[in-house]
Amino acid sequence: MKNWGHLGLFAGGLLFGTAGISILTSEDAKKVYTHCTAAVLRCRDSVMKTVDCVRENCGDIKADADAINEVRTERAKAAELAKARALVAEAEAAEKA
């Protein structure tokens, strides 16, 4: 049994040493490598594109958020002003009375 195993390894080694190497270095294999590389590069580009897209959308969100906060501060300021006016009016009324 042990011998068979050794024989199998030997046969495999023989096959790899002759046919395997020539397959790995063949023109066809090179084509496969090229396509794989191209796929990897495409993948990287699409990742970078997604990153940019996320960045742009973050910019959108930030701009809108700023706008919301601006409206809020404006409103708070207006409310404060109205309150102060009311106080002044009250005081004036009290003075008159």
Partner: protein, 698 residues
């Protein structure tokens, strides 16, 4: 061009341009064309997604922006001509991709590569770091590379390959960022140098013509005068000049070039006049050439070894001492190694360049352009600030208020004469005279012969065979020995006090006194008070103007000192004395007469509307509309130093705590590594946030 609006909010538009793909060049064309063609505050074009983000101020700009977008064409020659030779887009693209590849590669390997191969990969990669550490030891230096190598080696020896590879990953990322920062500052500097000049005087057949730089060919003869920026590389054919190369080399002492000497584009003629033969036309790799020269010079060198690394280097011996002491006390090599496993240098390496980069970015948002991180450091540490008066503390546009004529001459005639002389001189007073002549519609031919500048004094030349001089009282009466025409003495004695005076004499007799008013900037007094509040202990004003005018300006401002009637050399000498006394000095100026002082100071600040020589030599340029930028500059640079020191303290204490907890056996190595990496990335991310709180930005 066809476009769709993807998102819109108040003051901001994001549009998708009607292109399926966009090259880097095309993105640049769109960006520059939009910046020039519409009233936008900022335009950013993303080439990968073909999107443009436009921010603008006023609400009525929107329609004009949309019109500009509709009119846009990437094949338009006018738009193409706007784009400089090199824009930096390719550089950021290159480094973004490098970083992305690094991160994606690491993630993929973690996820998919079997452990055995990962170990093999880690060993292969560690060779570089170990080699560097050994090299450092070999030169008998105990510096950060030694500690890096020790950390990686220690991790691998204890069989913790994932820690070793994460340390290497962080170091690699830090290295990429550092290289990016450096390349970017060199690129920005080179771009600012290659852009400054637009036209030059070319001599052809005995006649001088003003020719755009792009139209100058190799072998043409270009005339250079005092304060001209040399437009193109060339050799001196005639004459002698002293050239200030500090924009390129950081060396403030000018070099003398005589016949046969080589002068570089982007450097400045400090004194003299010459004729050069152009050795290289524009566009022929000039940008690359300037980059090469800057890299070879000392200008940015000290920046690559930022202060943080100096600080880190000092800690290395302590780390090793800790490891040795632990080993002696416990006789346990594992515990001793745990001292070396926490590597703080990658955290410093990551956060420092990011801090500096984001500070420079923040500064440019306030209209301040900084030529390198070390000038921000100087601005933070300075305790003395020296102002030039004209154009800096006063409005940069003095006006001619009155012309007092002597010797029976007429106002128009005198003004025409003066404008003819002053035309070539890049000083705000000279510009005032020229524009006053233009306002009155006075045209003039080039009637004079060779013009001679005497820096900070005036100009002398010959008109119709008579010697004409224009300049300060000292220059006209004492140096040139001119006299007041007899009978006009009473008028001369009664010159109005509130103005600066410019004296013009022809043939040794006073012809006219031009009265120039130059009001103090509205914000000057407030800014100076604020600067006092920001720990400047000495605020001075230096001016070539008379004592009388200087005193009247100083009375309006809370200055600590003022010096009147100083020469450019005196300004520089004053700054040198202050520096020798141990003070750190900022010089703020705008004119050709400030240049020696600007290069002498720790940080030279030029006003962007000033003479181009000043901008060229200065380290920092601020927008001309307000002095407020100076306050901003100080705040920003102090905040940057605060951040750098804060980062340093945080990184050191946090990692020291990790070491202590590891030594005590409370924290297992795996969680200590996780905390270490997490804190490193956190401090990096925090370093990129805006330096000043948002409400101050408005």
């Amino acid at each position: 061009m066809y476009y769709t609006i993807l998102h819109e909010s108040a003051g901001r538009l994001r549009v998708r341009l009607g292109l399926s793909h966009m090259s880097l060049r095309e993105a640049d064309i769109v960006e520059y064309a939009l910046k020039a063609g519409c009233p936008a505050k900022d335009v950013k074009v993303y080439d990968r997604t073909c999107d443009a983000v436009i921010t603008f101020d006023e609400k009525d700009c929107r329609d004009r922006i949309l019109q500009a977008l509709a009119d846009l064409s990437i094949r338009d020659d006018a738009a193409i001509a706007l784009v400089p030779e090199e824009t930096g887009r390719a550089l950021s693209r290159q480094y973004e991709e490098k970083l992305a590849a690094k991160i994606i590669g690491t993630v993929l390997r973690r996820l998919f590569l079997p452990a055995v191969f990962r170990t093999f990969w880690c060993c292969c990669k560690s060779v570089r770091f170990l080699g560097r550490g050994l090299g450092c030891l070999f030169r008998r230096r105990l510096q950060v590379p030694v500690l890096d190598a020790a950390a990686i080696g220690a991790a691998m020896l204890t069989g913790d390959f994932s820690t070793a590879s994460s340390v290497m990953f962080l170091l690699d990322v830090g290295e990429i960022l550092e290289e990016w920062t450096y390349k970017k500052s060199v690129g920005d500097l080179a771009r600012s140098m290659s852009l400054k000049v637009s036209s030059a005087w070319v001599r052809e057949g005995g006649e001088e013509r003003l020719v755009p730089v792009s139209g100058i060919r190799e072998g043409d003869l270009v005339v250079l005068r005092t304060s001209d920026i040399i437009p193109l590389d060339g050799t001196v054919e005639e004459g002698e000049v002293s050239v200030n190369q500090s924009a390129m080399t950081g060396e403030s002492v000018p070099v003398v070039r005589t016949r046969g000497g080589y002068v570089y584009a982007g450097t400045v003629v400090e004194e003299g006049e010459c004729l050069i033969r152009v050795a290289r036309a524009s566009g022929s790799g000039r940008y690359d050439q300037i980059v090469k020269m800057i890299e070879a010079s000392e200008k940015l060198k000290s920046e690559t070894e930022t202060r943080a690394f100096g600080l880190a280097d000092r800690l290395v011996p302590w780390s090793f001492a800790g490891a040795v002491i632990t080993f002696i006390l416990t006789r346990n090599i594992q515990r001793a190694l745990s001292f070396l496993m926490v590597d703080f240098s990658c955290a410093l390496k990551l956060s420092m360049p990011l801090s500096v980069l984001s500070a420079i970015r923040d500064a440019s948002a306030y209209g301040i352009s900084v030529k390198g991180g070390k000038f921000l450091e100087a601005a933070a540490e300075a305790d003395t600030i020296v102002f030039d008066k004209t154009g800096t503390l006063t409005y940069s546009c003095p006006r001619v208020e009155k012309i007092i004529c002597f010797d029976g001459s007429g106002e128009d005639e005198d003004l025409r004469f003066a404008a003819c002389l002053e035309e070539h001189y890049p000083h705000s007073v000279a510009r005032a005279v020229v524009s006053a002549a233009e306002e009155r519609g006075l045209l003039h031919e080039e009637e004079h012969t060779k013009v001679q500048y005497v820096v900070a004094h005036g100009i002398s030349s010959e008109i119709y065979g008579k010697k004409a001089v224009i300049g300060s009282r000292h220059f006209v009466f004492e140096d040139e020995g001119c006299v007041v025409p007899e009978g006009d003495e009473a008028m001369f004695a009664a010159l109005p006090e509130e103005y600066s005076h410019l004296y013009m004499a022809v043939d040794g007799r006073l012809k006219a006194v031009i009265c120039i008013s130059d009001p103090v900037r509205e914000d000057a007094a407030r800014v100076i008070d604020e600067l006092h509040g920001l720990c400047f202990t000495k605020i001075c004003m230096m001016t070539g103007d008379s004592e009388r005018v200087a005193a009247s300006v100083a009375s309006k401002l809370s200055l600590d000192e003022y010096h009147a009637e100083v020469l450019p050399e005196d300004k520089a000498a004053f700054i040198r004395r202050e520096r020798e006394a141990g003070r750190r000095v900022i010089m703020v100026g705008d004119g050709i007469n400030d240049t020696p002082a600007l290069s002498e100071a720790d940080a030279g600040v030029a006003i962007s509307s000033g003479a181009s020589i000043a901008k060229q030599i200065s380290d920092i340029t601020i927008a001309s509309d307000s002095l407020e930028s100076l306050v901003m500059l100080r705040r920003l640079s102090t905040a940057l130093m605060g951040r750098i020191n804060g980062n340093y303290r945080f990184i050191i204490t946090f990692n020291a705590a990790l070491i202590a907890l590891g030594l005590a056996g409370i924290l297992p190595p795996a969680s200590s590594a996780l905390l270490h990496n997490g804190s490193t990335i956190l401090s990096g991310v925090k370093s990129m946030t805006p330096l000043l709180p948002a409400e101050k930005q408005a």
